[in-house]
């Protein structure tokens, strides 16, 4: 079995192994390769960030790892076990607004426990714990419409944490938020990650966020999305958002930006050409 051999060549403390993923879509003008031979591995307790320009295939990779799409080449393994559909060890936080508008904060956070068949008293107690963890105590009985965007995103994170995944997979969870909120929520995520020793894979297009949070940053190319470089972030932990003003932080940001700028401008040119093509 070639696939098993590939998986076992990785170090045994790699909890998540993404091996040579290729995913294409059939579109009106032919096949489009969104993810092109991407491999990565995440160690137990590690925080990894994947960064890339808009449209480079990050969400596609996210959905592949989460087991929500099929029809791709390559393998995703969790603790040596092949991912085939949503895996119980993986918890996903989505890029889009994803709280259930008809459920209160408590009922949103308790959702995965309800799915697992836990009884009401027990799951409410657990939900309250995770609500407090993301700093939303006092809002248990509110509906999402009564919360700010940042609070709703925290509800979504708490909901995923409540399922106690071994790997927390997040797709631009703060994408729609302003910079201050984003930094402060980043602190919250760092705290939680430290407390729970949570393995995280964060997808983002924000360099500050990637460097602030991650142990390693994987830079993707513009379409088709390939691995361009993996940067180790040797900043001390525990970290806080104050770190963004340090010199070392600036160096990492500059290094990643020089990689990313190439890709982002290639993406922009590409899109301009497409638009020009569409108009002529």
């Amino acid at each position: 079995m070639a696939t098993n051999a590939a998986a076992t060549t990785h170090a045994s403390n790699d909890i998540l192994v993404v091996d040579d993923i290729v995913k294409s879509f059939n579109t009106a003008d032919g096949s489009l390769t969104a993810v092109d031979h991407v491999s990565l591995s995440v160690k137990q307790g590690e925080f990894m960030a994947v960064i890339g320009p808009s449209g480079c295939g990050k969400s596609t990779l996210f959905n592949v790892i989460g087991g929500l799409v099929d029809g791709y080449e390559g393998n995703v393994t969790v603790g040596g076990e092949r991912v085939n559909g949503p895996h119980p060890s993986i918890g996903m936080v989505f890029q889009e607004e994803s709280t259930f508008p008809w459920r209160t904060v408590t009922d949103n956070v308790a959702f995965p426990l309800e799915i697992a068949g836990m009884d009401k008293a027990q799951r409410y107690e657990r939900a309250r714990h995770f609500i407090a963890l993301v700093g939303l105590d006092g809002f248990e009985n509110r509906y999402p419409a009564e919360l700010s965007g940042g609070m709703r995103q925290r509800v979504a994170i708490a909901r995923t944490l409540a399922s106690e995944p071994k790997i927390l997979l997040m797709d631009e969870p703060f994408g729609a938020l302003d910079e201050q909120t984003r930094l402060l929520l980043g602190d919250k995520v760092l705290q939680i990650q430290h407390q729970l020793k949570q393995t995280c894979l964060l997808i983002t297009h924000n360099i500050t966020e990637a460097v602030q949070l991650a142990d390693r940053v994987l830079v993707m190319t513009y379409r088709p999305g390939k691995v361009k470089r993996i940067v180790d972030i040797n900043l001390p932990r525990p970290r806080s958002s104050e770190i963004v003003s340090s010199e070392a932080f600036g160096r990492y940001v500059a290094q990643i930006w020089s990689d990313l700028r190439e890709e982002a401008s290639r993406g922009m040119r590409d899109e301009e050409q497409q638009r020009a093509g569409a108009h002529s």
Binding site: N63, G66, G67, L68, G85, P86, P88, I90, G91, M92, F94, E96, E97, S98, F100, P101, W102, R103, F111, P112, E114, I115, Y143, A145, E146, S163
Partner: protein, 269 residues
């Protein structure tokens, strides 16, 4: 506290406009009713129309009192209510199931939904002879008429509601490995509640029409039967009295279903 106050749920409901009695709309509505009653009474008194076609309000009032104090009338009313209710439950459940299936499967939706669209607005009374053959002349065929009538609006609104579900919510459910029945009960149904409530509202209306129409055609019980009997005896005051009660019941039922919808709208905003 003051600033969270105007976000809170009861405040949202209160801010719908001026109070009921200080609102000019209320007075205009009352004026319209009073005006119509006045014209009615004037026409009745003028004797221009043949005998009882437009009976006096007093005669209608007397008929109404007689009707409401007659236990037999309540028996007929309960027969019709039972038929409409059973029809709504059967047609509603079928409509919901079919609508969810059509909304969930592109293939099913594309192939079958055009039939729903074209059959939807046709008068269902054309099915009545068939229903009599299948379910007999008793309440069975009336229930069937109610069910057929409400099936269409409920199925169409469920299919449309299914398609407007935010796709990411479905991915959330799948990522937590919800079973198909959990997806339906905990995501699809609550997410499409508003369009479905609207569909049930339309369905209730046409179920009442379908059942009553069937009762007027062929039956020996129910409100439709009583109305057509009053008509054939040319007992116009009782006929109008029964129509008034029917109006009030229909308005009440509609308001009840509508209230469920509005309650949800406020909760989800």
């Amino acid at each position: 506290m003051a600033e969270t106050g105007n976000l809170s749920v009861p405040a949202a409901r209160r801010s719908n406009g001026p109070g009921l009695w200080s609102n000019p709309v209320t007075w205009l509505r009352i004026a319209i009713i009073v005006g119509i009653l006045a014209i009615w009474e004037a026409t009745a008194a003028s004797g221009l129309l043949y005998r009882d076609v437009v009976p006096s309000l007093l005669a209608i009032g007397r008929a109404l009192a007689k009707l409401l104090s007659n236990p037999e009338y309540y028996w007929h009313l309960s027969v019709t209510a039972g038929e409409v209710g059973t029809g709504l439950v059967i047609g509603g459940l079928l409509g919901l199931t079919v609508g969810i299936a059509f909304g969930a499967s592109k293939l099913l939706g594309k192939s079958f939904e055009p039939y729903l669209y074209y059959l939807g607005p046709t008068p269902k009374i054309i099915f009545f002879p068939i229903m009599i053959m299948w379910f007999g002349v008793g309440p069975g065929s009336k229930v069937a008429m109610g069910a057929i009538s409400c099936f269409f609006p409920i199925a169409l609104s469920a299919a449309a509601g299914m398609r407007q579900i935010d796709e990411v919510l479905i991915r959330v459910g799948r990522s937590f490995r919800a079973s198909t029945s959990q997806m339906v009960m905990k995501i699809y149904l609550p997410a499409m509640r508003l369009p479905v409530v609207n569909g049930v509202r339309l369905g209730l209306g046409v179920a009442i029409i379908g059942t009553l129409l069937a009762e007027t055609k062929l039956s020996n019980r129910g409100i439709g039967y009583l109305i057509i009997q009053a008509y054939s005896l040319f007992d116009m005051p009782s006929m109008y009295a029964m129509l008034i009660v029917l109006f009030i019941i229909a308005i009440g039922a509609n308001a009840l279903v509508g209230r469920i919808g509005r309650f949800d709208a406020i909760k989800q905003k």
